[in-house]
Symmetry: C2
Subunit: 542 residues, 2 copies
């Protein structure tokens, strides 16, 4: 028997409409590319998005057109989000930190046709256009300044593109399972893999992120002011571009300035109440607060993910009255665990509460179910002892990467982490199953690093492993054997060679030339052995 | 382009699995039919539900079978909820306060085949069975006692029905738009109308009910203990049978004992932190608290709906440290408005905050959008001045009543209320557009009352109107004209006659015989004129 409720899809246009209609004057504040601050509000953001949508629909673009953005956390980017998603087209948020080669690979795979760029990303855009012609329309996100000269074909300034259009538009309706934002991840082996979030999955995730179980210090009538200290091109910036309008939150975006100085300035001026960042960034922010000799009285909640929070940082935040909420997610499963303590933990001792916050990464949630399995895929108990491969499943979890066939759809997604789940459903990541390195909250792919090294004619074998790092949690270390012992190749020369293939921040600080690679019985490089020898991995390294 | 996320439906079985897996030891406490208290937990409730599901699936029952329940807020009822919904069948929660005639009408319309009943509802069940044979299997919800003798055909005790089955079962998967619980409402004209909630709509509503915006005093790690002071057969009892397991809340159910004594006893013993009730009930509960000379230190939140909260009650709750959350919903659109103050209102003065709580009924929410329209269906501004017919739309709102055709599907649902929406999106109901009476939070249908009166041979015309009542907010008043002025018919005789057709609590205390009905220009009875003459309607009558 069918239910009798309305068939109303969960579309993201509903969120911006909700915010504009019911929280229209609530501020949206962003740093421009030039560093200055732009004050807007939800009503204006919707008006801008609808005007842009009208301009897009006037061209031979449609919900079938693939759009890309190559820009930072600005109001313009937010406008582009809601314009493109509002008309039902996917928005592929490109990461300007990647190489031209990787970006072109992703653009080709997605068949992107229109790309938004800004004053900062223009050189990168031009490099992309110089080596491929996928993009037939470039749109410059101007912020009041004249559009600079460019070699980009068919480039136009946003303001000129929108000229003559108004904001009269009723958002179209379509399938909630249609693609919304698209992100690529290098979290697993090989080339970057595409994740197309759907309107449904993002709506559910944003709801999860703002349930009482996540915002465990919600206060009646408080104006929440949320700031993602992460690019919104990266897994939607803590989901805040969606959870903020859904709840009438004030939103603060750092533009392209992720320096502690820039972030703390905005936090203080705009009275940010909740921000999301990885532990190293929180550490830097607190140092900056001290350097300035200020306090941030409005800031009450630190959302922490990317890696477990070190004890010292937890105590430092607590001493400033900032509550820590640890959570866990990945591009393939954003905002997955619940960030509050288990119900009833308020009765625990301080030490008990510390123990389940420090080192753990939130609690199993509803729409992203977690389990751990042994080598045969058999579920292991949640007893705080058994460690297994962490798997995740739910309507907010990736089923198949872009380009994969229907038969490749996963029932459970392997996260590549080894985890323990405790009886109170808190989760702790204890090791990495797959061969990846997580640096400053972002993934570095070992196989790609190795391929870059091996492309040098003198290199025989190469193996990248993660080594603990006090600032970035992990950095890659590269171990190589030479084809010819007499080769004059040194680390600097090899690094220089590798810049052709991988982003600069991927380059290993340490490159060691060793005599022989340790091999497994089946002849593969034994990373286990390499890690033992070269990378001591204490559980909490700082 | 399709999104790449998992195709995982929003099913209610996921909620009980979540609670059992991650909050298995969290208590579920209910009063039995005999008045004693039963302590259970989420793990046990799931185990019971799965065992019952296995027993049901062993019979020639399936997701096509229509199930009904005729019982109160007990753990058995909760078990029946999750067993029936878990196998994908609809559960029609019958209201034991209705007449045999109405119940038979609803059972026939739904084609119910199996019905669960209890020691209290057995006489009603026998009356139903005596006058119809829709139900082919009766299941007695025993609570340790022997099953009493009954005239019901094919009756079996729950414990006997489940004997030999275990709780090994993986819940099946099916369409999230399939019917889950089914409620009938007499809120509009004519016969009761059926609302089939879907798994999707109930999941979304339960999420909404537990977002930070609803639970505006969520505390990190607190064990929320929720108690619906309303039957769970009535629009799912504040959604708590679903929102509690979804969040690992402790749940307390009052069985069939809704007396202030019974409720306060449970609140005190079980340390209820949040409860939902209509204002008159809250009033009675506070009186009972005073009578006992106790306080309820754990109780921090009073969810209030059904009607606006009177100022005196608001102050009384506040003086006890209980925060008031006003919300609004109806069977067709449960848990529709957000119960917290508008974001930023924490900066308002106390008086300002009182003004937007007292007399108003929450804020416009996300999945149930509200608007007011004029007589031509044109939207009116949300300016706090314009009053119009309140309409609601969203994935948690009824599209068409059971039995209506696809063409009858509503784009917006008329609520039958006249409301004002303020610029801060708080909503105030100022009048009733349709001809209904709301008594103690439940609807009484004027046309049904009128039809019952007119069925008496001496009555010419009959009109029921609502009059303010200090306890029940409204009670019906009946105005009649006689076919023959010489008739000896008196109020008591007419009331006695009407008991054949309507529930006892519907019967008007006041029945007036008048000389002539005031009529509109088109010849209809002018209820407007009747209300003016007989029912002064001050905005807040107590």
């Amino acid at each position: 028997m069918q239910g009798s409720m309305m068939d109303v899809p969960l579309l993201l246009s509903r969120l911006i409409d909700y915010a504009a209609n019911h929280h229209g004057q609530t501020a949206v504040v962003a740093r421009r590319i030039d560093g200055s601050i732009e004050h807007s509000n939800w009503q204006q953001i919707r008006s801008r998005a609808k005007t842009l949508a009208n301009a897009l629909l006037d061209k031979p673009f449609s919900s079938e057109t693939r759009f890309a953005s190559l820009t930072w956390n600005t109001n313009n980017h937010l406008e582009v989000f809601y314009a493109v998603l509002g008309i039902g087209a996917p928005l592929h948020t490109l990461n300007p930190r990647l190489t031209v080669d990787d970006l072109n690979y992703m653009i080709a795979l997605m068949e992107d046709r229109v790309c938004f760029y800004d004053a900062n990303t223009q050189p990168l855009a031009e490099a992309i256009a110089a080596s491929s012609d996928h993009i037939s329309q470039w749109i410059y996100l101007d912020e009041g300044e004249a559009m600079p000269a460019t070699t980009l074909p068919n480039a136009v300034a946003l303001s000129a593109f929108k000229a003559g259009f108004d904001d009269q538009l009723a958002w179209p309706s379509f399938d909630e399972n249609d693609a919304a934002t698209v992100c690529f991840t290098s979290g697993t082996t090989g080339r970057p893999k595409g994740v197309a979030y759907s309107h449904r999955s993002l709506t559910l995730t944003a709801m999860n992120m703002t349930m009482a179980d996540m915002y465990g210090n919600a206060r009646n009538g408080e104006l929440v002011c949320a700031m993602p200290v992460a690019p919104i091109f990266h897994a939607n910036g803590w989901m805040m571009p969606f959870s903020a309008p859904m709840n009438g939150h004030k939103l603060v975006l750092p533009g392209r300035d992720f320096t502690p100085k820039g972030i703390v300035e905005l936090m203080e001026q705009e009275q940010v109440t909740i921000a999301g960042a990885v532990p190293t960034v929180w550490n830097d922010l607190m140092k900056e607060v001290d350097r300035r000799g200020i306090t941030l009285p409005a800031l009450d909640t630190a959302l922490v993910a990317g890696t477990a929070i070190p004890e010292r940082l937890f105590d430092e935040l607590a001493s400033r009255g900032i509550q820590v909420r640890t959570t866990w997610g990945m591009t393939e499963s954003p905002g997955a665990t619940r960030a509050t303590l288990p119900p009833g933990a308020s009765q625990h001792s301080d030490d008990q509460r510390r123990a389940i916050t420090i080192g753990r990464q939130g609690r199993v949630g509803l729409h992203a179910d977690l389990r751990i399995v042994d080598e045969d895929g058999q579920p292991l108990p949640h007893d705080g002892v058994a460690a297994g491969v962490l798997q995740v499943r739910g309507p907010t979890v990736l089923g198949r990467y872009i380009g994969e066939s229907e038969e490749q759809t996963r029932e459970w997604l392997d996260t590549g982490d080894i985890a323990v789940i405790y009886p109170d459903s808190t989760m702790q990541i204890v090791d990495r199953a797959k061969d990846v390195i997580k640096s400053g909250g972002e993934w570095i792919s070992s196989p790609q690093l190795e391929a870059a090294a091996i492309s040098h004619p003198d290199i025989e074998l190469a193996a990248a492993i993660a080594v603990p790092h006090p600032r970035w949690q992990e950095r890659p270390m590269l171990l190589c054997t030479l084809k010819n012992r007499d080769s004059a190749l040194d680390a600097d020369t090899l690094r220089e060679h590798m810049t052709q293939h991988v982003a600069k921040w991927w380059l290993p600080e340490e490159i060691l030339f060793i005599d022989a690679m340790p091999l497994t019985p089946t002849g593969k490089i034994s990373k286990l052995e390499l890690r033992k020898q070269y990378a001591s991995r204490p559980e909490q390294s700082f």
